[in-house]
């Protein structure tokens, strides 16, 4: 199936998403900071990136900008709690392919799995 990079500073959130993805048969890579996330995006060639927006070292938007500036076109799904409309637009302009609300369960989870399947095909 797909190789998915999870960029989120919360170990708990990463675990939740990792378990769900692995149950669905995907391979996961994890990065606890934006910087490590960018490094992993460069070297580990993931098929889909799941990106949190609020992180200590840099915001998800900054991560997106950096990736796009290096012509990295890996599909990025923003996973976050209550996103503001301006931020959503900014992310879409930077080429984010989808948005998933936290908590990642129920409908949100189904949506996430659908997006991963869609963009890894």
């Amino acid at each position: 199936m797909a190789r998915v990079l999870i960029i989120d500073d919360s170990g708990f959130q990463r675990s939740v998403i990792r378990m769900m993805l692995q149950k669905d048969g995907h391979e996961t890579i994890e990065a606890p900071t934006g910087t490590e996330g960018i490094a992993a995006a460069r070297t580990k060639s993931p098929q889909v990136i799941l990106l949190d927006l609020l992180m200590p070292d840099m915001t998800g938007v900054e991560v997106l900008k950096t990736l796009r500036a290096e012509n990295n076109t890996t599909p990025v799904v923003v996973v976050t709690a209550d996103i503001q409309e301006t931020t959503r637009k900014e992310c879409m302009n930077l080429g984010a392919v989808g948005f998933v609300n936290k908590p990642v369960k129920g409908d949100n989870l189904a949506h996430l799995l659908k997006l991963v399947k869609l963009y890894s095909a």
């Binding site: 500073d9 170990g11 708990f12 959130q13 675990s15 378990m19 709690a81 908590p103």
Partner: protein, 668 residues
């Protein structure tokens, strides 16, 4: 379904751990924010934490946590946007909110799945909501007493900066007081605080003593007694009601016990270790495997009976390698067990802040050395004594702001906490610039409390007298105020340090301040001792090498008995008291007389004696093992050790032995 549940349980554990850790890191950030309300970096960090707690708790439908974190997030967002300033009141609410969240998480960890708020949580939530609702109001409406409270705060700041006695400032303040009286009425107090209780005021006016108040309080009648006296109820009715009351209290207590939830499995004590540290072990283990191969090869060679002499040499070399590897392993393990003391130290500013505020003092804390590492179990044991000494420094050491000012000091008291590593010891100094300790007063109080006798007090040096504050039963005040109290007194300091072979020193200057020095031997978990294995009867003991100056077979003429000193041994022109090790440990010796035995001359740090044993067997390196609490009170034993032959030997504590034997001091 079952699988889903296990999955949930696993991530629930992760959620609890992560959230508790995040909450732990918040206190210093709040304090930093209070000092600098515009620090966006700190504000963003706090906001992020609250945001993530809100998001994660929603995953488990933990609505009580989610709602709480959400409201605090709103408040923090206002601060971030500049719609509100982080005043002391808001910081207070945030700090208490963090505490409540901590409680909720701990309830969850103990297996309590109830998603409702306790009354105090609900009350605090209401308070947050009120603050949030008061958005515009706060800016528009001027409340005179609020303004005066702010003025009082400014006054303290002025005092802190030493600006208050400038003449125009003084006059300005006078005018403000006149204005306060005109606006709020004559009973408005300049401090804006509530009036002290009647008893305290009478004491301050010198009309009665503290004892008078205490006595009066014990004479206060119970409700039932008053009602009976006034003929409102019969004594029997009161007794019945009281008995019912006790019964109900018991039932409630029992019901509570039965409902005790089971803690969530998986929340065991854990520690984080850097991968690099673990990797270095693999290298040592790799070498050990090679080492084991050498031993295998040698065994085969020896079984074949070939080249015995050469094999013994090879065996010796392999053995040296083995010892070295084991030593490295031991050192590495001790290293891995170390954790940063930041875990304790980062909680201190909050503690000092809250305490100072509760008792009307001003205190600033400075911390140094928080990046040092310490063995995890020592770390855990150190927390409570350290907290006690710091609370004590703020509570009893620092004077009230006005007293300090009158003494020409900065009204803001200072507590310094400094950690450092020196000469194999881990040292923490706690220094305050308060009133210092009075040895004479301490002695008098200790005699009054029956901690020591008057005779003991007379001969007690000042340095020892300061340590009286650690004696159980010395300080009762701490248990009454809830400030230094919490059920344990300062004696916990001594107990904990003794258990870890540490010590505490106190130096103090009246009017200037006090310094506590806590020292703990490093690598407490694994201490290697080089010593001599000696035999006494059928037993074997290890005497630490560092204490032994020489060993001799004394002649009959060297040993004599002196009336006041007991048995002595004369070596050259020196006289040493003789201590028979078999008498100390109550075993039957092989030789009855010193001139048939071996005598070890001990002479160090002013402690001298001759220690009589049957024979010296060998020199050895052993790892000291703690024999448990039961043995801590035996002064002559340091611990146990596995000897080369697999038997256990006791390691003799020379210092403990001699300090309890008055004779060894005799000549000094």
């Amino acid at each position: 379904m079952a699988e889903e549940f296990e999955l949930d349980q696993e991530i629930l554990v992760e959620f609890i751990k992560e959230t508790l850790e995040e909450l732990d890191g918040l206190d210093p950030k709040f304090i930093a924010l209070e000092k600098n309300p515009k620090d966006m970096e700190v504000l963003n960090a706090i906001f992020r934490t609250m945001h993530s707690i809100k998001g994660s708790s929603a995953f488990f439908n933990l609505n009580h946590i989610r709602n709480f974190a959400h409201k605090l997030e709103f408040l923090l967002d206002d601060l971030r946007k500049g719609a509100r300033t982080a005043t002391k009141d808001i910081i207070n609410v945030l700090l208490r909110g963090k505490d409540r969240l901590d409680h909720m998480l701990n309830r969850l960890a103990s297996g309590d799945m109830e998603v409702t708020h306790t009354p105090d949580e609900a009350a605090l939530l209401k308070q947050v909501e009120n603050i949030l609702a008061s958005k515009e109001e706060a800016a528009k409406e001027i409340k005179p007493h609020q303004v005066f409270l702010e003025i009082d705060k400014l006054r303290l700041d002025l005092a802190t900066d030493g600006l208050i006695d400038k003449e125009p400032v003084e006059r300005l303040l006078e005018q403000i007081e006149r204005l306060r009286e005109a606006v709020l009425g004559p009973e408005a107090r300049p401090s804006g605080e509530a009036a002290p209780p009647l008893g305290k005021m009478l004491i301050q006016q010198g009309l009665i003593s503290e004892e008078d108040v205490e006595e009066a309080l014990t004479k206060q009648k119970k409700l039932g007694e008053i009602l009976v006296e006034e003929g409102k109820v019969t004594p029997e009715a009161v007794e019945r009601a009281a008995s019912d009351q006790r019964q109900q209290a018991r039932e409630i207590a029992e019901a509570k016990k039965k409902k005790e939830p089971t803690p969530i499995a998986g929340l065991k004590k854990t520690m984080r270790i850097e991968e690099e540290k673990i990797d270095s072990f693999m290298d040592v283990v790799g070498e050990l495997i090679i080492n084991a191969e050498v031993f295998n090869y040698l065994q085969k060679k020896l079984e074949g009976g070939m080249d015995i002499e050469k094999s013994v040499m090879e065996f010796k070399n392999a053995n040296v390698d083995f010892s070295e590897l084991i030593f490295n392993l031991q050192k590495g393990l001790a290293e891995v067990r170390k954790v940063s003391i930041k875990g304790i130290f980062q909680k201190l500013p909050r503690m000092v802040r809250d305490l100072a505020e509760a008792i009307g003092k001003k205190a600033d804390i400075e911390i140094r050395g928080e990046d040092l590492l310490l063995d995890k179990s020592l770390f855990e044991q150190l927390e409570s004594p350290l907290n006690h000494i710091i609370r004590n420094a703020v509570d009893h050491g620092l004077e009230a702001p006005d007293v300090r000012q009158a003494a020409g000091k900065n009204p803001m008291g200072r507590v310094e906490v400094i950690a450092e590593e020196t000469k194999g010891e881990f040292v923490i100094r706690i220094r305050d610039d308060g009133k210092g300790m009075d040895a004479a007063k301490l002695r008098a109080k200790a005699v009054e409390k029956g901690v020591i006798t008057a005779a003991q007090a007379d001969t007690m040096p000042d340095k020892e007298a300061y340590k009286l504050i650690f004696a159980p039963g010395f300080s009762t005040a701490e248990k009454v105020t809830d400030v230094s109290g919490r059920g344990v007194g300062m004696d916990v300091v001594m107990t904990t340090l003794k258990e870890n072979k540490g010590k505490v020193d106190i130096s103090t200057t009246l009017g200037k301040g006090t310094e506590f020095t806590l020292s703990l031997p490093l690598s407490n978990t694994l201490i290697t001792i080089s010593g001599l294995v000696v035999a006494v009867g059928k037993e074997k003991y290890i005497v630490p090498m560092e204490w032994i100056r020489e060993s001799i077979h004394p002649s009959r003429q060297q040993v004599s008995s002196v009336k006041t000193k007991g048995e002595i041994v004369q070596i050259r022109d020196h006289i040493y008291p003789l201590i028979r090790l078999h008498e100390v440990f109550g075993v039957t010796p092989k030789h009855k007389h010193p001139w048939n035995s071996v005598v070890m001359v001990i002479d160090r740090e002013g402690l001298q004696c001759c220690l009589m044993v049957d024979e010296i067997i060998e020199e050895t390196q052993v790892v000291l093992k703690d024999l448990g609490k039961m043995f801590h009170h035996i002064p002559g034993i340091l611990g146990g050790a596995i000897l080369g032959d697999g038997n256990v030997g006791l390691v003799v504590n020379i210092e403990g032995l001699l300090r309890t034997d008055a004779r060894s001091y005799a000549d000094h």
